[in-house]
Every structure is written in C-alpha cells, then in structure tokens.
C-alpha cells in the first residue's frame, strides 16, 4: 500500500518529527513497502477473535498504599537540559 507525501508529513506532524525533503521521500518509499508487508494481517478473517494486549493474563495488580523513598526535586531535575529553581524550563508554547 503506497502512502503519499502528504500522509508522511501528516504523520510526522503528529509525531513531532521535523523531516528534510530527502527524508520525506525516503520514508515515503520505505513506509509504503513496510505497510505493504504488514498489511498482510488484513487477509485473515478474525471476527470473533479477542485481541491480545498483553501476554500474561494479569488483572488488578494491587499494591499497598505505603510511602516509599523517592527522588527529591534536585535529583529529578538533575538531567534536565534547562531548569529554573525547582522547575523544568521550556520555551513558550
């Protein structure tokens, strides 16, 4: 299934990826080929089959509501590219 240049740009916008013109064309070709291959799943009639989201059948995993040691603000901010006091600093939205 071939996808268009417009679709590549739309998906890149959704994913917050800036692409060069050369990348748009390269990804258009590669994603078309990959989608063609993975589109194979459409061949199967799977009405009535339940989806699997997770390989183990776990449900309602509870934990005691007890305080545990955690990072202090300084540690949590230690890897930030930019900060101000106890805040992450970002450009205006």
């Amino acid at each position: 299934m071939a996808i268009s240049r417009g679709e590549v740009l739309h998906v890149a916008r959704l994913a917050r990826l800036e692409l060069s013109d050369a990348e748009v064309e390269r990804f258009r070709e590669q994603l078309s080929a990959i989608l063609e291959a993975v589109g194979k799943v459409a061949e199967l009639d799977l009405s009535g089959v339940e989806p699997t989201a997770h390989p183990l059948e776990l449900s309602n995993v509870w934990a005691e509501d007890e305080p545990q040691p955690s990072l202090d603000a300084g540690e949590a901010l230690a890897s930030a590219p930019d900060r101000e006091g106890h805040f992450f600093r970002v450009p205006p939205a």
């Binding site: 996808i3 692409l19 993975v38 989201a53 183990l56 990072l71 930030a80 450009p91 205006p92």
Partner: protein
C-alpha cells in the same frame, strides 16, 4: 595466575573467587586487559567502569539498562551524556549479587535493529569475522561475551534482540518468559514485548544469571513470581523429552542450507540422547508473525518514545523557538533513521481511520499466535528451529533495505508474540560462522529449556572461542 578470558565461564570464575585463588579486582582487571586489547576493533562497549564494586564475577550490561551515575544512552544521540539518578531493578540485583560492572555495551538505537549498525556510536563487529555484524540489537553484549571481554552480560529482547545476536556470535542467550524479569529502569521500546535476558558462554551460566535477575518486582506490575526455583541443569540425557519441530519455522524461505544442516545434526543428537522428536505445525504464527510484530512493536514505540521531548532529560535542540519547534528539532536531531521510521509507522498504525485495520487486527493475530503455540506445547516440551535464517551477514548488507533487516528475526519473533521463553544455543558452524538453535518452551518453562539446552550443548561440543582468536 593467567586468566584466559576467552574460555573462562562465569561459573568457573565464581569458583576461582570462592576458593580465594583470585580476587574480584584481579578478575575485573583481566577483563579490562582483554577490553584494552580487542574493544578497539569490535566496538562492543560504549562506556567502561573503572571502579570495582562487588566481590563477585563482573558483568557487562546493555546500554538500554539504567545504571545510577553511569551514562546510559540506549545507543541514541538523544540520550548522549544521560546519567540516570536511579538503578534499574536488574542493575540493582546485579549490584546486590556482587557483580562488579565492567561497562555498558553497544546496541541498535533504542534496541531497534538486528545488526547493531543502527547505533549512533558506530557498529559493533562480529568477533568471528570483523567484516560481519554481531546481530542485534544486543550485539555489543554478544560480542563482548564471545570475545572474552566479559564473562557474561545482559541484553534485552523485544523481537529477537538477545536470541539472534547470541546465535550470530556463537554464545548462549535466553529471552525469558514475559513478566519474569523486571522492566523497571529499562529504556522502553515496546512494553508488551520487552524482556531482559542473560547472554553467556554456557547454559549453566545462563541459568545462574537468570536466577540472579528473575522474580517479581513491586516496581513493575507486569512481573510475577517464578512458579518454581531456577534449577542448574545437570543431566546429560534427554529421556522423556518431547521435541517438536515446527515445519514453518524450519522450512521458511531464506533459511540457509548450512543453517538447516547444523539444526538437523542437533536433532539427530537429541534423538541419540533419548528425546522423542516429531514434526508439528504453526501455520499462521510464522506466516503472520513478522507482520503482527511490525505493527504492535512500532505502535508501542511511538508512544514510549514520545517522552524524548527535550524537557526532562537528554538532548534539547531549537530551544530559541517555541515549544513545538523545540520538540520537533530535538527529535529530528536526536533520533536516527530507524527510530524515526518506527515512530512514523506506529503513529500511522494508531492514527484515526487505521487503528482497527492495523493495530486492532494485529492484536487479534497475536491471539491466534498464542493459541497455536499453546496447542503445540501441549504435545511437546520444547519446539526447535534455527534462531536466525542466516549466519552473520556482512556489515552494510541490509542497511539500505529495512524489510530485509526485519526478516532476520522472522524465526525469533513468533514465540515472543506469545510471551514464551526462548533459548538460543550454538549448534555448529556454517561457512565457518556460528549457527544458533532456538529452543522454545511454555511460559515459565525455563528449567526445561535449561535442561534440554545443557544436554544438547554437551552433545554438540561447540567451541565458543572464535577461531580467529583461538
């Protein structure tokens, strides 16, 4: 004492330490010397650790595993210089077990790849032939163990990333049952598939390391307690073991004749050891497994990799513009081609109008795969096939064609979709390069895999030292 790191197993190393014939610092230094000698040509390590912390057998960790204070990049430029302020649970368990950290190993960026060529820090080379890839994405860990640069290592396996490089480097690799090893602090790729696993020279070493890292972790609610303790395999026979040989996993297009021949010889040995061997079928798991994986894993990745936005950690680019420009430029500069491709593929598969046809359908295919494997594993204790259709391929052979690279995991992926454990052991050479044998068991049947793997390992008598280095 001269230590031959090419041959020494972790179990033997532990024995030397216990008997006081060697100190942990001396053992660590022997591996450091081997690294000094051979890492230049192999590029197996991204970061080396000088301090010797712990009195046990040292270990190498894939760079996807968060280590407190030690740079953790996941092979990506977007995490260059990132030093986690916390340990992953597996790193903490290695620390608690007294395994000094040797360093962090190279990998395909965010564990996306089958050759370690997608690393932002240059490819790792195969110790058997440095013009060839070590497999991936845990290629650094595989090469380190194979070339005697670590007695054992941890990798991670989402779609074959422990099993396949183990096969291509002639070592043992276990992808454990999903949920038996904590993912806390593992840089996330596809959360319903990611599992950390041991990479070792022998099956017994593999069992020892699995024992050290497995078990429920309150910090990862998808983990469970092991139903039985990990047993170190002893027996050399396979009496009473039922081995299934799925036709589709053994006759898939693209399997090299030399790979099939090595697997056939291993099956002959299994019969001689007393196993019952019979053919079986997995008609849809192999035909649709790869497609199912390449919808589910990129979808999960597109969500997990949303966190790299230049705010809390890692690279920031374009900070002079507005927030949106900053996100887009950070991700443009920080991600390599493969993460970009998978983020786009996953975003597409999850987007309005396509969700049911792609992601929803793939989740249903996953149910079929689980059912097929469950039915086969009622009749058999283990299912056997090649781990990879080919031996190690030349660097650059598949980099221009993502689909060709993806096919490298066509045999490793189907059992992963079902959450099943898989053990790869070397079973011979083809064209002078190692061939891996994949043993798949029921969920939580690691002890069965260790028993079968150990007996076959003895019978095959594979020499794990790369001929070039022997």
């Amino acid at each position: 004492m001269t230590i031959d790191t090419l041959r020494l197993t972790a179990e033997e190393a532990a024995g030397l330490l216990e008997r006081g014939e060697l100190s942990a610092a001396e053992l660590h230094a022997a591996y450091r010397a081997a690294i000094e000698e051979r890492n230049g040509e192999l590029n197996a390590y991204l970061t080396l650790v000088e301090r010797v912390e712990g009195a046990g057998v040292p270990i190498a960790l894939k760079d996807v595993i968060s280590t407190r204070g030690v740079e953790t990049t996941a092979g990506s430029k977007i995490l260059a210089g990132y030093r986690p302020v916390f340990d992953s649970t597996v790193a903490a368990r290695c620390r608690a077990a007294g395994f000094p950290l040797l360093g962090k190993t190279n990998m395909d960026e965010f564990a996306m790849g089958s050759s370690t060529e997608n690393s932002a820090y240059g490819p790792t080379r195969n110790p058997w032939d440095t013009t060839r890839v070590p497999g991936g994405s845990s290629g650094g860990s595989a090469a380190a163990v194979s070339a005697g640069l670590a007695p054992w290592a941890l990798g991670s396996d989402t779609g074959g990333s422990v099993k396949q490089p183990a096969a291509l480097c002639g070592i043992v690799g276990l992808r454990p049952t999903y949920g038996t090893v904590s993912r806390y602090g593992i840089v996330a790729f596809a959360s319903s598939l990611d599992q950390v696993g041991p990479m070792t020279k022998t099956v017994r070493d593999c069992a020892l390391l699995y024992r050290a890292i497995a078990g429920r972790d309150p910090r990862d609610s998808t983990t469970v307690d092991l139903p039985e303790p990990v047993e170190l395999p002893e027996r050399d026979d396979l009496r009473g073991v039922r081995i299934g040989v799925p036709r589709e996993l053994n006759e898939a297009e693209g399997i090299e004749p030399g790979v099939s021949a090595a697997v056939s010889r291993a099956l002959d040995l299994a019969r001689e050891l007393g196993a019952e061997v019979a053919a079986c079928e997995l008609p849809r798991s192999v035909e649709y497994g790869l497609a199912c994986y390449y919808l589910i894993a990129p979808s999960e990745a597109s969500s997990n990799l949303a966190r790299y936005d230049g705010v809390r950690f890692g690279l920031r680019a374009g900070g002079d513009g507005d927030a949106r420009r900053m996100y887009e430029q950070t991700r443009r500069e920080g991600f390599g081609d493969e993460p970009k491709r998978r983020i786009m593929l996953g975003t597409y598969a999850l987007s309005a109008g396509y969700y049911e046809a792609y992601y929803g359908q793939a989740q249903k295919v996953r149910t079929l795969i689980r059912q097929e494997f469950a039915a086969a594993l009622e009749r058999f204790d283990v299912l056997v096939s090649p781990t990879s259709p080919t031996v190690a391929f030349p660097l650059g052979a598949k980099t221009a064609n993502p689909l060709a690279m993806y096919l490298s995991d066509v045999l490793a992926i189907p059992p992963n979709m079902a959450g099943l454990p898989g053990l790869s052991i070397p079973c011979g050479l083809s064209e002078g390069l190692p061939v891996g044998l994949q043993l798949v068991g029921a969920q939580f049947a690691e002890n069965v895999l260790f028993r079968v793997g150990h007996a076959l390992e003895r019978a095959v008598g594979f020499d794990v030292v790369p001929r070039r280095l022997a």
